[in-house]
Amino acid sequence: MSAYEPVIGVEIHVQLSTRTKMFCGCELSFGDPPNTHTCPVCLAHPGVLPVVNEEAIRRALVIGLALGCEIAPRSIFHRKNYFYPDLPKAYQVSQFDIPICGRGEFTAIREDGSELTVGITRAHLEEDAAKLTHEGGRRAGAEGSVVDFNRGGTPLVEIVTEPDLRSGSDVATFLRQLRQTLLFLGVSDCSMEEGSMRADANVSIRPVGSHELGTKTELKNMNSFRFLERGIEAEIARQERILSEGGRISQETVHYEPETGHITSLRSKEESHDYRYFPEPDLVPVVPDPAWVESLRAEQPELPVPLRRRMVAEMGLSAEDAEVLTESPELVEYFMQAAALADPKACANWIRGELRAQLRETGEEPWQSKVTPAHVAALVDLLAAGTVSVPAAKEVLAGMIQTGDQPAAVVESKGLAAMDDGDLAAIIAELVAANPDQAQQLRDGKDKVLGFFVGQAMKQTGGRANPQSVQKLVREAVLGE
């Protein structure tokens, strides 16, 4: 057990998937040719002014409400001043002392089912910088950087947490479920790879039992939750090593190299900029109509974490079922529609198991496939009624994926209905006669051999035998039960 306790807070930048940018009418894009989504405003030509995108305000409010934040009746924008080529105005329009969303909290569920509650300090609106690409010396001595202003001015919500987290795995759990929540809200694509969700972690450690905060380092911009988790653990270990050797942590920005597992220093915070924040005189305060805020609160969808609790408590699902099925709002919707028609647990099993496994070949998601939730429910009902065996049901599913037919129709056309016991008994009698050694084993009490007969019966019947029936009939034939 370590003598130190890690203290971690995170800052998450979420690009909002609005149609247009934060302060101008340019459309957002990803992957379009550089500098094709620009205008005088987002290029900071002389004399231009920003105008706030109302949809960005709405989405910031939606996020704030989902995080239980206090919504500011009046918030203002500030200018954060610094020179860099990705910032054409040489200031970023952001929020400073009066953000649109104040204190809140978010609860995630750990793998062991325990709950992880993280305080939210604030969530504020700002604009993204342009994208800089540094070019190496492809031509002799021709090193340089190029700027793509397509991204410049994309609306961002920055969510800042309290230093409530204590491990890399808790950070990953929190971020995964926060991401899921944001996806459910439909406010962002939340793609770590494409950079539409970026997380930085502030990491410090302190002796167990201490209430003072140690010197923190900032772990920058990891592009996956797994690397962030590993990076945090590596940084905690590095800090522990330094302190246990009597050293001191210096406040700096660090980077984790996933390939080597090493932490490297990016820049010392001591040289940090004075951003000379001051209220943005080109914008008026944001004063959302309270009725509007209330209607956004009322329209909020059921969010994944409470939904997971309900799936376990009321629908008989396992914690793992609930976690998998709440991966995306589309999957939840798909499952809920099926579960409304048939046994939820069985629907959960079939959707997260066989359906997704079979769809892997085509790369489709369940809701994109020809299999509707009603089809899944009908299949589950056929199984429950004993009309099809499990192996046959898998084939029915394959048929449905191809044709989009009702399961009963696939059963019919492929002749997959479970064989009735009379027809099956004849086949079993032949099997027992043809395999005297195995029959003897069963008489000797080796029940495992039943599997052999089931397999043989399946082979003979093309999967139409009901395994329970096979076992029952074999016992009857061999043991006279």
Binding site: P40, L43, P46, V48, P85, Y91, F278, P281
Partner: protein, 479 residues
């Protein structure tokens, strides 16, 4: 009498009556613009102006502003027409868009003949901070026209154009109007869109008209005001700007700002203002003294807030995306050499002042405190307007001063705006009209009113204008 002697309203009437054409008007004015005896213009768009005049002349009915020429301060963005804001930083820069207020005037039939000289980025009170040239005062070519909109003021006084646009942050319309003996109006903050006005201090900048008659300024402003979706701080102007017709001021209470009539005001200026106060009484106004104690802190407040905002507004000029650029080995040198070489000394001074005022650790002491004083000033003006309808004061403490007289002494230069700055900080409208001469040079009377009282100001100014009958023709100007 030449076409250039007509006011804009008269020129429009002549066009409507078929007595002249827009092309004829444009040609007559362009001749004076191209001669440019007072160095008022930085760029001339003769071809564009003539082409537009022909277009308007060919229209079945004339637009509201008829096809009358106008000069535009170089701080306003004009598509394809070089716009420098008086700075080397934007030498040769051709904007890709036109400022909203200019576009509105063009749509209403005003024809832009050129861009007028100004103090670099509107910082100055004499136009001597222009990176390109000094503009001369039409009344005395050895004197400054005032600033920062000196070119716009001089061009109207010189009758190169009947009217023009300027921008006013701390007095940059009113003070040059006063020094050149013409009318200049700073509207209520938010009345005119700032979209396309190259920002100096965003919370103070306003675009407004220059003209030789009060009615012309009203007509021009009428076609500029109103909310612009491109400027969040712009407002719907309540009602409509009307052409003034008043010939008396009965029923109006005029407060004479005591703090702006004392020390530092030239005797000749004071005498002219006092004479115009008597005129106002003759016109039926009640003239009372009023005290605005915080107005004495106006200059100090302004020289914290305006530089703070400008230090941020001018940070975008880095030579990377537009304008001239200086080659350097690395990014920091690129910034430092470009900005070091291309900004003039007054601009650098204010950027440094503002950067300092916003620095963490100094913010509360300077920017924060200045904002508080500004709030007090807004309250003080609001209280004053509960007692009086209008505030009167000199526009400038002095008449036009000699070229070079104050360039070595920034503070002396800053004092030129001591009477106009409090009004700017309060965000209310004010007009400067010529009210007399002191040693042969024009004196400006400043009238200020509450927010959106432009019509009241125009009416009062019109009544005084009719009563005083000031001759706006500079003595040396050939007829």
């Amino acid at each position: 009498m030449s076409l250039r002697d007509l006011s804009a309203v008269e020129q429009i009437a002549a066009l409507e009556a078929g007595e002249t054409t827009s092309l004829e008007l444009v040609d007559a004015h362009l001749a004076a613009v191209e001669a440019d005896d007072v160095e008022a213009f930085l760029a001339i768009d003769a071809e564009g102006a003539r082409a537009r005049a022909r277009e308007i002349d060919a229209m079945p009915s004339r637009p509201a502003l008829g096809g009358v020429p106008i000069g535009i301060k170089d701080a306003l963005s004009t598509r394809d027409v070089v716009t420098t804001s008086g700075s080397r930083m934007l030498e040769g820069f051709r904007p890709v868009y036109t400022a909203t207020c200019v576009q509105r005037l063009q749509d209403a039939g005003a024809i832009v003949v050129g861009k007028t000289n100004m103090d670099e980025f509107a910082m100055g009170s004499s136009t001597e901070n222009s990176a390109y040239k000094n503009t001369l005062n039409p009344w005395d070519h050895g004197r400054v026209p005032g600033g920062s909109s000196g070119g716009s003021a001089a061009s109207v006084a010189q009758r190169q154009v009947p009217w023009s646009l300027g921008s006013d942050t701390g007095g940059s319309i009113r003070q040059p109007a006063a020094l050149c003996g013409i009318v200049g109006m700073k509207p209520t903050y938010g009345a005119v869109s700032r979209y396309g006005l190259i920002a100096f201090a965003s919370s103070l900048d306003q675009v407004g008209p220059f003209s030789r008659t009060v009615a012309d300024s009203a007509l021009l402003l009428k076609h500029m005001v109103g909310r612009d979706p491109m400027d969040s701080t712009s407002l719907d102007w309540p009602g409509e700007i009307a052409l003034p017709t008043a010939t008396d001021m009965s029923g109006l209470r005029v407060g004479v700002v005591e703090e702006l009539m004392g020390e530092g005001i030239e005797p000749g200026v004071k005498a002219a203002i006092e004479a115009s106060l008597r005129t106002m009484e003759d016109l039926g106004a009640t003239v009372v003294p009023i005290s605005l104690p915080t107005s004495l802190s106006g200059l100090a407040t302004y020289y914290v807030l305006a530089p703070a905002e400008c230090s941020s507004n001018l940070a975008r000029f880095d030579g990377i995306r537009y304008g001239p650029s200086v080659d350097a080995d690395n990014l920091l040198d690129q910034y430092e050499i470009t900005r070091g070489d291309l900004f003039g000394p007054e601009v650098k001074r204010r950027i440094m002042l503002g950067t300092f005022a916003l620095a963490s650790g100094y913010y509360d002491q300077y920017y924060g405190r200045a904002q508080k004083v500004r709030t007090l000033m807004v309250q003080e003006f609001a209280q004053a307007f509960e007692q009086v309808d209008l505030l009167a004061s000199p526009t400038s403490p002095s008449v036009a001063f000699p070229l070079g007289d104050r360039t070595a002494d920034p503070y002396a230069m800053y004092l030129a705006d001591v009477c106009t700055i409090p009004v700017s900080l309060a965000g209310v409208p004010a007009i400067s009209i010529p009210c007399g001469l002191s040693d042969g040079l024009p004196v400006g009377l400043q009238l200020a009113g509450p927010a959106f009282s432009e019509n009241r100001l125009f009416d009062a100014a019109h009544a005084i204008e009719q009563a005083i009958a000031f001759d706006t023709r500079p003595p040396g100007l050939a007829t």
